[in-house]
């Protein structure tokens, strides 16, 4: 086994929005091929943290290293170069409404990477095929379902060859029956060794592929650990309590306990600490 290779490391991130301290001394490291899951109640700072990680919000304090190099947002050019390497998936997709699925994936390749149009088209088609949308490439966002839109947005981010992918509640805006297709893509990416940090409420799902859960509350990471550990039957972790609460809110308490339990027992069979097969 190779030694862990840190891709993205942040230390001591603080962020104030308005007069509220949204992030209070957050530090984390994600190694190549790892999947880290951010969980916690809404308003706990998950979204702001992710946006700080690619400088859509500039942190007030703290340091960031990408692939071993410290990044300081000194020039606009460096900032754009940094963002290209850190892919972002938004809760409400944010597809460019005036462009087809193909155009959405293609445009940054042409404008940002300076790729020739034919090459960009080829690459964009490949990425759309990878998320199962080869036949939808000429449709506009308004003609796609939510799940399809989110898959286009994943193809768009992946086409830039990011070193790490940040996912901000990628399934929260979707109708329940459309969540599966997006989760399938995420699972595929994880198995292909994509480094990811994802904020989500899909705890049972993410427990099956996460290397670490980070539980956030009031702008801090208050608990971290492997899902097996945090969701072990009888565990008294915050994560476990939160998981039960989410499922309780969806109106099925007995089911909730079984799901938490089954996701952790499923994990017991999974080889620990391994990287995804590439």
């Amino acid at each position: 086994m190779t030694t862990p290779q840190p891709i993205l490391r942040v230390e001591g991130i603080h962020k104030t929005l308005g007069d509220q301290l949204v992030l209070n001394d957050v530090s984390l490291t994600v190694n190549r091929g790892e999947v880290k899951i951010l969980i916690g109640p809404s308003g706990s700072g998950k979204s702001t943290l992710l946006q700080c990680l690619n400088f859509l919000h500039h942190p007030d304090q703290g340091r960031i290293w990408l692939d071993g190099r410290e990044f300081k947002a000194t020039s606009r050019r460096e900032l754009c170069a940094f963002r290209q390497q850190v892919g972002m998936i938004f809760q409400d997709f944010n597809l460019f409404d005036h462009l087809t699925a193909l155009g959405n994936v293609q445009i940054a390749l042409i404008k940002v990477k300076g790729m020739a149009k034919a090459k960009a088209t080829h690459r964009a088609k490949e990425e759309l095929a990878r998320v199962g949308l080869a036949d939808k490439m000429d449709l506009y966002p308004a003609q796609l379902s939510g799940g399809q839109k989110q898959r286009v947005s994943m193809a768009r981010a992946l086409a830039m060859d990011p070193k790490v992918l940040l996912l901000d509640e990628p399934t929260s805006a979707l109708d329940p029956e459309l969540i599966g297709e997006v989760l399938a893509v995420i699972r595929f990416l994880a198995s292909a060794g994509m480094t990811m940090i994802m904020a989500t409420h899909q705890i049972a799902f993410s427990a099956t592929m996460a290397h670490e859960f980070l539980f956030m509350e009031k702008g801090r990471i208050v608990e971290r650990g492997s899902p097996v550990h945090l969701l072990a039957p009888g565990a008294t972790s915050r994560t476990m309590a939160f998981c039960a609460k989410i499922n309780e809110l969806s109106g099925d308490l007995g089911m909730a306990e079984r799901r938490c339990a089954s996701s952790s027992s499923a994990l017991a069979d999974k080889p620990q600490g391994g990287h995804g097969t590439t």
Partner: protein
């Protein structure tokens, strides 16, 4: 008044009056174009610019929206342009032309109004559009050019067709400094024949037809550039 008698007079003077359409349309299209070319950067500056930039644009808009067109026509024609054409190095450029004065006044005023149409459309777009573009590594100006403006300009077409119809009718004021557009010509003929009413009607009909045709053309444009999948909106009736 005897309309039957005036019909042959109108008929006879019609070629002269219709000749004004060229001037009216050159003035309107020229001013729309000038307003578009200036209005887009003004709108972008007002939304994304620094405080100073926003302040300067605010003053520009305030000035050109606040001063009546007729007053501006006099100021430009008898003031600024008359003065500039006296400057030796600028002589011979034809700066003392009434058409140029009217074009500048209508164009600069339209830029002020158009900038507010575009600003409204830019601000109506979801914030996530700019964020998503930036997250892909686009600079702000790349994002504005390839993502924001293509959408904002589409949204602006209904407001823009309103601007066309206003500009068309404002262009009639250019008669005051002697541009030979439709209004000047009908007034000339009316003065010669001492029949003001029929010729006012002729001018009214011509302006009505030009307004109608322009708005039809812009509706077609709106339909042509509509993004597929969006429900028909109220403006598309």
């Amino acid at each position: 008044m005897d309309f039957a008698k005036t019909i042959p007079v109108i008929w006879e003077s019609l070629p002269f009056i219709l000749g004004g359409i060229t001037w009216t349309l050159s003035l309107v299209f020229g001013a729309m174009l000038l307003g578009l070319c200036l209005g887009i950067p003004l709108a972008v500056g007002q939304v994304y610019g620094t405080r100073t930039v926003r302040g300067c644009i605010g003053i520009y808009v305030w000035l050109f929206r606040g001063i009546p067109i007729l007053v501006q026509l006099y100021l430009f024609y008898f003031g600024i342009l008359a003065y500039l054409s006296q400057v030796p190095s600028l002589a011979g450029l034809g700066l003392d032309s009434a058409f140029l004065a009217a074009l500048l006044v209508l164009g600069l005023t339209s830029a002020a109004y158009q900038s507010q149409i575009f600003r409204g459309s830019i601000q109506a777009l979801p914030e996530g559009q700019l964020k998503a573009a930036q997250a892909l590594g686009m600079t702000e100006s790349q994002a504005v050019r390839s993502i924001i403006l293509p959408q904002a300009l589409r949204l602006s077409i209904p407001g823009w067709s309103n601007e066309y119809s206003i500009l068309l009718k404002d262009s009639a004021l250019a008669f005051a400094i002697g541009v030979m557009e439709i209004m000047s010509r009908t007034r000339t003929v009316a003065a010669l024949t001492h029949e003001p009413l029929p010729f006012a009607l002729v001018a009214g009909v011509l302006f009505y037809l030009l307004t109608h045709m322009g708005i039809r053309a812009l509706k077609t444009l709106e339909r042509k550039v509509r993004i597929p999948g969006y429900a028909r909106q109220g403006s598309m009736s």
